[in-house]
Subunit: 135 residues, 2 copies
Amino acid sequence: MKPEAKAVEPASYSISELAREFGITTRAIRFYEDKGLIAPARRGQTRIYSPEDRVRLKLILRGKRLGFSLDESRAIIDMYDPAHGNVEQLQRLLLHIEQKRAQLEQQLRDIQSLMGELDEAEARARASLKQNSEN
Amino acid sequence: MKPEAKAVEPASYSISELAREFGITTRAIRFYEDKGLIAPARRGQTRIYSPEDRVRLKLILRGKRLGFSLDESRAIIDMYDPAHGNVEQLQRLLLHIEQKRAQLEQQLRDIQSLMGELDEAEARARASLKQNSEN
DNA sequence: GCAAGAGTTTACGTTAACGTAAACGTCAAC
DNA sequence: GTTGACGTTTACGTTAACGTAAACTCTTGC
């Protein structure tokens, strides 16, 4: 067995550590907690974040990059929990997954076209620059 | 020459026609105009939208689906205009294009991982359902 | 033993993107 | 000639996602 293959992952983080790492403010992190997206442990009244909490934060930020609201991100994150026991809930979950998938596919198409158009826009700009330099 | 190959495209649209077509309110469309994203013609004080205006609206909504702000969408739309004469502007445009491209690539990666995770979540949910049905 | 630094709660402020409502104009239809 | 249907401007309201500030606590170095 290898002694230490991976970089040592801290057992816990402070709020400011996470804020620094992800380029957000501590205020934002506490706000996510208020909205029920994270629930860090406490030592006294100080928040202590586990590696799992860190992952949740990462997921929230990924959601933001995709234009999701915090509510949507929470819904997505909840899909990972095995806490969904009853059949009805699971059915709803599956439905929700399908909706998300459809939305992501639309975003994919949107990105494809936008990228293509960026290519054209770049070409036009470069052509225009060349024109200018020839005068 | 073919007489009428494509469906006839109306020469102009009313505000409510566009609202209906895109599933938004007329209020939103006027708001976009306030923000300088569209500038329809007027007959008297009634707005008349050209096919080009319609395209702009489409681009705005695509931007929204990708989580862009109206300002960002305006910036993107402006990339299509050949109105950028001077060299400095063109340089800035190219820079802007590169930034957008980077952002889109990040979104692509985000979507890829999310889709993968949706697959797993679906599998877990289905497995859980099967469990329940076997009791 | 106390000042500095990090963390906490509480609360009011701010921005973007519209919603909603009021009050009015215009035009075809009945 | 009035009643809708559609359009207009003006203005205040609302929600999400934090920012900012005040006032307090806790720990740690010196």
